[in-house]
């Protein structure tokens, strides 16, 4: 056997194999992305459609299986105008000067934003319709918030969830940013702080909920001396609606501030030092350096991390469920917990309807947020 023959054999073999290899190479794009797309598609389309259908029907357990009966929009009507209205939307109280003032200010701002867009140079028909829809929905939500919270009324799970998310994300962001700015200084021991500050994120949310139940206990919790001083040991402060909501929010802030902290820390650490140093040489105050140089440069990271926390924050369930069991009454119930309690009462259709309302709310808030901030920030950088 000469080497010539083996070479010929080899060439024949490769020529047969090459088309397959080349084909695989050409479709590399699909090979890279398809597994992820298929998995996500499989796990989003089917459940999404299935729960949409369930939300439009009444599910009852009959002998030997389940019975699904199509009832149209009944489940939704129950939430918005029917028996579950006070649970979902709350009770609107008589108007007060405060509620009128706040609403007037908010509506004025919305009107101003819309007016600026209409008289602005680059308006489009589609953009206008989108903004009008946004303003109408936002106006309705604001009306509901003002008339249930700022009056003698009672907020429903919808408003409570919005309050949780709004307060939590704002506080978490301010705390996370402050901590990141502190740790970024070249102080000895910052590696210690970096790891310690991450810890709350690593505990399972159910565990955090029980931990806070333990900590906020007024008779045997570690804060007992504090309660005793204010004479609060007998009144379980979890019976006060706002006290209970505050407890839930403190727990959420404790657990998720680390997430914002670590991402903002990473963002600040990548910034080039030259600008800051030059500004300091020129005699700029620290406040000015932060506000004019650091902050604009971490805006992209800011908008990303706030969007993640907004989306995740709306799904809050463990803390109110364990800490207060949604109570007193339904004062601390979030939308997810609302859906869960209805589900436990075997009203599967109603539960799916609540979940869908939550989905609509999250979609509305995220899309508005992206249009309002992220696009603008992306244009800046």
């Amino acid at each position: 056997m000469s080497s010539q023959t083996s070479e010929r054999v080899l060439r024949a073999a490769t020529s047969r194999w090459r088309p397959i290899g080349a084909r695989l190479d050409r479709s590399a794009g699909s090979v890279f992305i398809l597994p992820a797309v298929l998995v996500i598609l499989g796990f989003s389309i089917f459940p999404l459609l299935a729960s949409l259908y369930v939300s439009l029907s009444r599910l009852s357990f009959s002998e030997g299986g389940v019975d699904l009966k199509f009832v149209g929009l009944d489940n939704y009507a129950k939430l918005i105008v029917g028996v579950d209205q006070t649970h979902f939307l709350g009770v609107v109280g008589p108007i007060t000067p405060v509620s009128i003032a706040v609403l007037a200010a908010a509506y004025g701002l919305l009107a101003l934003l819309l007016y600026r867009y209409i008289t602005g140079p680059n308006r489009t028909a589609g953009g206008l319709v989108g903004r009008v829809v946004t303003v109408v929905i936002a106006g309705a939500l604001l009306w509901l918030i003002a008339n249930t919270i700022l009056t003698s009324g009672r907020p429903g799970t919808l408003v409570v969830t919005i309050v949780y998310v709004g307060v939590d994300v704002a506080v978490q962001y301010l705390l996370g940013l402050g901590l990141a700015l502190l740790v970024v200084q070249h102080l000895p021991g910052r590696r210690f702080f970096r790891v310690v500050f991450l810890l709350p994120m690593m505990i399972t949310p159910v565990g955090v909920a029980y931990l806070f139940q333990m900590l906020t206990d007024t008779s045997k919790g570690p804060l007992y001396p504090l309660w005793a001083r204010f004479g609060l040991t007998d009144v379980s402060w979890v019976t006060n609606p706002w006290g209970a909501r505050l407890a839930v929010m403190i727990g959420d802030v404790w657990q998720w501030t680390p997430f914002i902290f670590i991402i903002l820390l990473a963002a600040i650490e990548t910034l080039p030092h030259e600008l800051v140093e030059a500004a300091v040489v020129d005699g700029a105050s620290r406040w000015n350096v932060f506000w004019r140089i650091t902050f604009p440069q971490i805006l992209p990271a800011t908008t990303t991390v706030v969007l993640i926390r907004l989306i995740e924050g709306f799904k809050i369930i463990d803390l109110p469920n364990v800490l207060t069991n949604g109570g007193p009454g339904t004062a601390t119930e979030s939308l997810t917990l609302h859906a869960y309690t209805i589900w436990r009462a075997l009203d599967i259709g109603g539960s799916a309807a609540v979940a869908y309302m939550l989905l609509l709310l999250v979609t509305f808030v995220s899309v508005t947020y992206v249009n309002l901030f992220r696009r603008r920030v992306a244009a800046l950088t």
Partner: protein
């Protein structure tokens, strides 16, 4: 600088005190817990290891099986998620995708066909095959005509938007799905679900990270005849290690601690630790002393990993999450 330290230690106290409370509670008897707040072991109360003994010895099997489940499900699902997610992220960063709107409409039509068939009591497998066939038919004929297409950014946003679904909305259909496959209460069901749920996060974090890798290296390798897969495996992945590690840790924490999906999909065999923690809420009220032990043994490995990987996390996020 003094103020900085005061503030840093203040927050460190806020973070560490609850953990300290967990530690001392795990050493108390139920009687001590209920008798009022005792802060310092030996001075205020006599610490003992009864709770640890109960969790490790009396419960024994009921602690170790969930622990094993959590480790296996957490690590496997995270590894698969990070692999698939970084592949997709690499594709989104370096390739150009154009999905014709016609194809998407065709897919929607296929789904609609399957749904309608299922409403008319066709077996789900048959309906799915029919829907798929209809989709392929449309794809080969009508769908190619349209010009309008969605690009990479739209695909990425679509993936992220899947996180907006509240778990309660999707968990019942997923439960029925695995029931049909008789995969309930197995590692497989949890792993597949966690992969699907966490993929968007990985794609998002890794996309920004991979963008920062210099293109020249990949180009020169391609010119030397390396296939796209070879480039990805031998050049991109090694360069992306910090980002991969940071993403891995994030996703591991999520999968490790997940509660609601595990609650629905598992009962006794594949139960994970968050369920064991919640199960300590007995009829006589929550048994905080046992929970404390469980939470502590649950976070220890994660903390160890975080300390070991801390320098990677910083570097990984450095370039990664920043770009938005």
């Amino acid at each position: 600088m003094v103020i900085s330290y005061i503030l840093l230690f203040a927050w460190a106290f806020v973070v560490l005190f609850p953990l300290y409370w967990l530690a001392v509670t795990s050493l108390k008897t139920p009687l001590d817990v209920n008798a009022g707040p005792f802060y310092i072991p030996f001075r205020d109360f006599q610490p003992n290891l009864d709770n640890w003994h109960y969790i490790f010895v009396d419960l024994g099997e009921d602690t170790f099986r969930p622990y094993l489940n959590t480790v296996v499900v957490g690590l496997t699902s995270t590894a698969i998620t990070v692999l698939l997610g970084s592949m997709a992220a690499y594709g989104l960063v370096r390739m150009r995708y154009q999905v014709r709107l016609g194809a998407i409409a065709g897919f929607a039509a296929g789904v609609a066909v399957a749904v309608v068939l299922m409403i008319f009591r066709t077996p789900w497998l048959l309906a799915a095959v029919a829907g798929l066939a209809f989709f392929v038919l449309l794809l080969q004929t009508v769908a190619r005509r349209g010009r309008r297409a969605v690009g990479n950014d739209d695909i990425a946003f679509w993936m992220i938007s899947q996180r907006m679904l509240p778990p309660v909305a999707v968990v019942i259909p997923i439960y029925v799905f695995f029931q049909q496959l008789s995969l309930l209460d197995t590692w497989g069901a949890l792993i597949i679900t966690y992969v699907a749920v966490h993929l968007p996060i990985v794609v998002w974090l890794m996309r920004d990270y991979l963008q920062s890798i210099p293109l020249e290296l990949e180009e020169s390798a391609a010119i030397d005849g390396a296939s796209p897969y070879r480039v990805f495996r031998s050049i991109v992945l090694p360069l992306a290690v910090p980002g991969l590690v940071a993403t891995f840790l994030f996703v591991l924490v999520f999968a490790w601690n997940e509660y609601l999906i595990a609650l629905f999909l598992t009962s006794s065999n594949a139960q994970t630790l968050p369920l064991t923690v919640a199960a300590q809420n007995a009829t006589r009220g929550p048994q905080w002393w046992y929970m404390s032990v469980l939470i502590l043994i649950m976070i220890t490995p994660v903390i160890a990993m975080a300390i070991a990987l801390e320098r990677f996390i910083a570097r990984g996020l450095l370039v990664g999450a920043v770009k938005g």
